[in-house]
Structures are given as structure tokens and as C-alpha cells.
């Protein structure tokens, strides 16, 4: 195993700080605690941080401004924790460069799962630059905004996806033309030991197909490989060709 993952928690409520720290330590991660922007800067300067949990309502500099400041100097994944819970905050946070967003009170298990997913993604990102593209175009008419977690067609009509459907589609879009087994899909979307079954992947695939392949002018995008798994057969581009 490599050196333990180091997670920085920026949160002004000391009790939540300690509770988060113990939650992180239970998962075998190292936690550093900061209660404002200054302390966070000091910790970032002297240690190598893998991921940041960031509260929005902070004394002094607020979380959103810390987020945009950090994003301009580094690519450390940032997960925003906000008590505001308003949708508009979510959008603003993601637009400012946060990688994910959870509103308080959050389910600790979900937090663990998201942290794992983010860490996995950031490790893989080094190898595959395609993941950095904020918008992916595929299947002739679809565009997937990875930042805002939104799927639109070329008329700007938004199609709603559940978080699980989005994660699955993203995994497919990042690996077009590859046959992925159900186990691989579970691992890529939810991580190992998540308790997801192969059956749940099949259900998810059928739901995704309903949304992607039901409209007029839609083509088949997900191909079932007999006794293998699934293959995303659409062309994926990072930039729309001007045609």
C-alpha cells in the first residue's frame, strides 16, 4: 500500500471537525483539521494533501472563495459540505471548481463512498487526460457536463439522471468501445465492497437506455455483450466538431 491518504478538513465547528476526523481515521485515512482559510493555507504549504473537505459557511474567507482560490493553484479534489442546502449553492460550488458537493446533514456512508470515488478518479486522472474534459459529446446529439452533472441534447433539452445513472454514464463515456463486465462497472461506479449486485447494474443499464434511446432520432448507445458485459458503442468527443 502507498502512503496513507491525507485529507484536509476545513470546518469551523470543532465538534463536526473531530467527528469527521474520527470517521476518516476509521477508513484508514489521515486527517488534518483547519477551521479557517489561514490554517488551511498553512497545512497545505507543509504537507501533501490528497483531498479537501470544505465547509461553505466559514469565519473570514468563505468556503466558495477558498475553493476558487485553491482551484486556481492546484488540482486537489475538493468536496464541498454545505449547510445551506440550496440548489443554487450546489451549482455555484461546482462551477467554482469543486469536484463534488454534499449538503449537511449528510449520510456518513455516502460521504465515505464519495471520497473513495473522488480519490479513485483523481488517481486515474493522471493516466487519462480525457477525464479532465468538463463536457463530453457522444452519440451525435448528447452532451454530458461532468462538472454540473447534467445531460443535455443538442437542442438544450435537459434530461434528468439520478446520481447512479450519471456515474454509470460517465464511466461509459470515459471508456467508449471497451467491453466492461458488471464487476468492473460496479467497481468503477461505486467502488469495491459497496454491496451493489450485478442485478442492480442491469437495472441501472435498462433505466439509462430508456432515457438515452427512447427519444426520436436516438440510436442505440449501450450494447449488451453476451456473457461479457456492456459496451458503449457511441463516438465520444471532447469538443464538438463544427460540422
Amino acid at each position: 500500500m502507498q502512503n496513507p491518504t491525507h485529507i484536509l478538513v476545513i470546518e469551523d465547528d470543532t465538534e463536526i471537525q473531530t467527528l469527521l476526523a474520527s470517521l476518516l481515521q476509521r477508513n484508514g485515512w489521515t486527517a488534518s483539521l483547519a477551521s479557517n482559510g489561514h490554517e488551511a493555507d498553512a497545512i497545505l504549504a507543509r504537507s501533501c494533501i490528497d483531498l479537501i473537505l470544505l465547509d461553505v459557511m466559514l469565519p473570514g474567507e468563505d468556503g466558495l472563495s477558498i475553493c476558487s482560490r485553491l482551484r486556481s493553484i492546484s488540482t486537489i479534489p475538493i468536496l464541498i459540505l454545505s449547510a445551506k442546502g440550496e440548489d443554487i449553492d450546489r451549482v455555484v460550488g461546482l462551477e467554482l471548481g469543486a469536484d463534488d458537493y454534499m449538503s449537511k446533514p449528510f449520510n456518513p456512508r455516502e460521504l465515505e463512498a464519495r471520497i473513495k470515488a473522488m480519490l479513485r478518479r483523481s488517481r486515474m486522472a493522471v493516466k487519462d487526460s480525457r477525464m479532465q474534459a468538463p463536457v463530453l459529446y457522444f452519440g451525435g446529439k448528447w452532451q454530458l457536463d461532468v462538472r454540473k452533472r447534467e445531460l443535455c441534447d443538442n437542442n438544450g433539452v435537459q434530461t434528468h439522471l439520478t446520481p447512479a445513472e450519471f456515474d454509470l454514464l460517465r464511466v461509459f463515456c470515459e471508456r467508449p468501445g471497451l467491453t466492461l463486465t458488471r464487476e468492473q462497472l460496479i467497481e468503477l461506479t461505486q467502488g469495491r465492497n459497496s454491496g451493489a449486485t450485478e442485478r442492480s447494474i442491469d437495472i441501472l443499464i435498462s433505466r439509462l437506455r430508456r432515457k438515452l434511446e427512447s427519444g426520436e432520432g436516438s440510436q442505440k448507445l449501450i450494447h449488451t455483450v453476451r456473457s461479457g458485459g456492456y459496451e458503449f458503442i457511441a463516438e465520444v468527443e471532447e469538443h464538438r466538431e463544427s460540422a
Binding site: D13, E15, I16, L19, L20, L23, M57, A83, K84, G85, E86, D87, I88, K104, P105, F106, N107, P108, R109, D153, N155, G156, V157, Q158, T159, H160, L161, T162, E165, R207, R210, K211, S214, G215, E216
Partner: protein, 477 residues
Amino acid sequence: MKKALWFDFINSIAGQLLILLILATVLFLSGIYISIQAARDAPLAPPVMLFSERQIGIAEVLSLEDPGDYRAHLEELKKRHPKVTYKLHPKGESLGHDLVWAKGRHIVDKPLSAAPGAIAPAQLFREPRDRIREPGEPGFFGVSNPQEVSLVISRRVEKNETTDIARVTLFALMPSEEVLSASIEVRAGDPPNHLIENTLVFTVVCMLLLLFWAIVFLIRPLRKLASVTNNIAKEDVDPKKVDVTGPTELRAAASALNKMQERIHHLIDDRTRMLAAVGHDLRTPVTRLRLRADTVEPEEDRAAFLRDLNMMDGLLSRLMAYFSKRDLSDEPVRLELSSLVHSLACEWSDAGNPVEITELTNVTIRARPNDVMRMVDNLIDNAIKYAGSCELSLTKEGDFACLKVIDHGPGIPQEEKMLLQQPFARGDKARTMNGEPGFGLGLAIASKVAESHDATLDLLDTEGGGLKIVVRFPLSE
């Protein structure tokens, strides 16, 4: 529709002012028309009248004198009034056949119809001289009161068609049965032809000016006031100050409205701030509890903890959803509604609730996805809570996307249906339910969301019992 518009205009202040002005103008113009018509018919009347009066007076005074002195007095008169031609016609001289004689001052002014020879001096009515002047009484030019005498007189007016000049001759039958005639040329006044057009133009200009004044000083401030008041009625709109202009009464109303607006805005602002603070401050301890709950040991206790926490969280987010101020930058997008309904149905059925989709058509609407999701989620939540199961259908009906949320539960009595769309209202059944989260905001939030999307939300009965909620969104393109 057209009739209503017309009625609206008549009913408005502008319309009524216009009617008033039109009536006033019609009255004014008809008065002017009548007087002008009169002046046109008899342009000669005033000068002829004046001349007649004077000459009758002279003749009456002269008649008191001795008939032998008439000529001498006439010479004197001619000297004094060089423009008037005086003549004394001897008895029996023909004066023309057109004269109609009348007693005293009752001159009949249609003399031209008399037949020739109809008037003979012998047949004339003759006022008896009942009074002889006393010697020493003042003579002709000294008499002050000729009213005691009444002569028989006649008048002839000869009009010249080409010029405005007419010759007026007044005849008076003297006691000596001689006839005194006095004639003069008079000029008719200019007929007032151009005047009526001028008056008309003047009146119309006045009317327009009045109307303009009314619009600028009365109606415009009133309209502004009305539109601002309307603005207050809408939700989530920044206050707009009314200009304090116009008549005094309107100024008072405008400043009162401004004060009221400010107060309402303050109240709403306070409410929003308070809720944000409450929301934030409550979420922090809930978050702590949520983190601690995971370490609670006996499994049942933890489950109970989590249930309570979830309930608190649900209440908090609903409260925030209902009362938080809409961010105006949150623009609606075009949304594939079926995908959203499908997502929610999947989430609810994944959580073990019997949610069934009976029909799902692809429809595109303009919507704020988060709001619509909250609304549909609330509707499904209600159905699950009160009926235990839920059927969803999404169809296209004309220009509308029609979403039906159907349950087979107890339903809602007709009289409670309106009430339930108000915040904090709950059906009787719901109030007695234990452990189910809800402030009675579910339907209120749904109605609010529907309203902000120009959608209609109807509460109907399911055949065979239960509630059927029908939401119709206008389709996008």
C-alpha cells in the same frame, strides 16, 4: 373580448373624461351654431331696429306740434341729421302698394305681401288726439315724453343683393293725414361665416389639451400606481418605488404605498434571513448527531436515531424550500420531463415503495428541474404516506404535458381540497398520523412550483376512491 375592451375604456377615467368633454363640446358648439344661424338670418336687424326706434320717436314728438309747423321742424331736422332724408308727403300721395300699416310700435316686418291699393289713408286707424298741448308747454324739441302718442307707422326695407347696403324708409301717418318719411342707408354686418370653423378648431384643440392634461396629470400616475401595486402582489419581486407625482390625493396614496411596500419587503427579508439562520444553525447540530449516530451501539437505537434525524432533515428542507426566496438568476431550462419522472419513480421504488409508472411519454417543458423534482417528489411522498402506493402517468394532452399522480387511499373530501394547498394545512387524517414527517407543506410547495411554471394543479378523485392529482405543464415548442 372586444366588448370587454370597449367597456373597459368607457369605464376608465380617461374614457369618462372623454365622454364628458365630447358632451361639453357638443353643447358649446350647438349654442354657437344657434346664435350664428340667427345672425346669418337677419344681418340687418340691429341697425334697422335702431333707426326705426329713433324715427318713430321723432314722428311722435312732431305729431304733438301744430300741423302747420311740420315743414319748419323738418328743415331743422334735416340740418341736424344730414344723412337722413326727411320728406313730408301730402295727403293722398301714392307711397307704393307694399306698405302695411300698424298702430304704434308694433311694426310688422313682412310688408311686401300687401296687394296694390289695399291701403288707403281714409281707412287708416287713427288715434284720436285726446290731448292738446297747453300754451307754454315745451315745444317739439323740448318734449321729454312722447309715449302718450301712438302713431300709425310703416316701414320699407329695400335690400341691394350685390352690396351689403340696404335702404330703410320709415313712414309715419301724421294727425294731418300727411305722411312723414325718413330714409337712410344702412350697412349689414359681415355674416359670420369663417367664425364657426374657427370655433370648432379652437374647441377641438381645447379638448385635446384637456385630455392630454388629464392623461399626464391624472391617469398616468394612476396607471403607474396600479402597475406597482400589481407588482407587490407578485412574489419574489424586488420592490419598485412609486414616483410621488400627480394630484394631491394620488401623492398621498403613492407615498402610503411606498411605505407599505417597504414594510412588506422588510418583513419578507427578515423572514428569509431568519429561515436561513435557523436552517443553518439547526443543520449543524443535526450534522453532528448524524455523524455520532453511526457509532450508537444497539442496532435498534441507531435505527430510531436515524429515523428521527431523517425526519428533522426532511422538515428542515421543506421549510426552506417553501419559504426561501427564489433566486432570480435561476433560469428555467428545457427539460425532458419523462426522464425526471422516471428518475424519481426509480428512486422511490428502489427504496422499497410501490411506485408504478403506467404511461410515460417523452415531453419537453420549460422548467427549473430542482423545483419540479421537489414538486413531483412531494406528490409521490404524499401518496405513499397516505395511501401506501402510487401510480404515475405522463401523457401529452394537446399543448400540455399532463402528469397524473394517482393513489387509492382515503382521498380528500371536496371541502378540504382548496385548504390543503395552503401551507401548514393538513387533512384530518394526517393530523392523527404518528411519526410521519410533514408540516403540511407538501401540497403547498407543489402548488407554488406549479404556479411558477404556469402549470395547473388539480386535486381530483380517483375512480373507486383515492386522490388523483393532475398537473398540466405547457409544452415547450
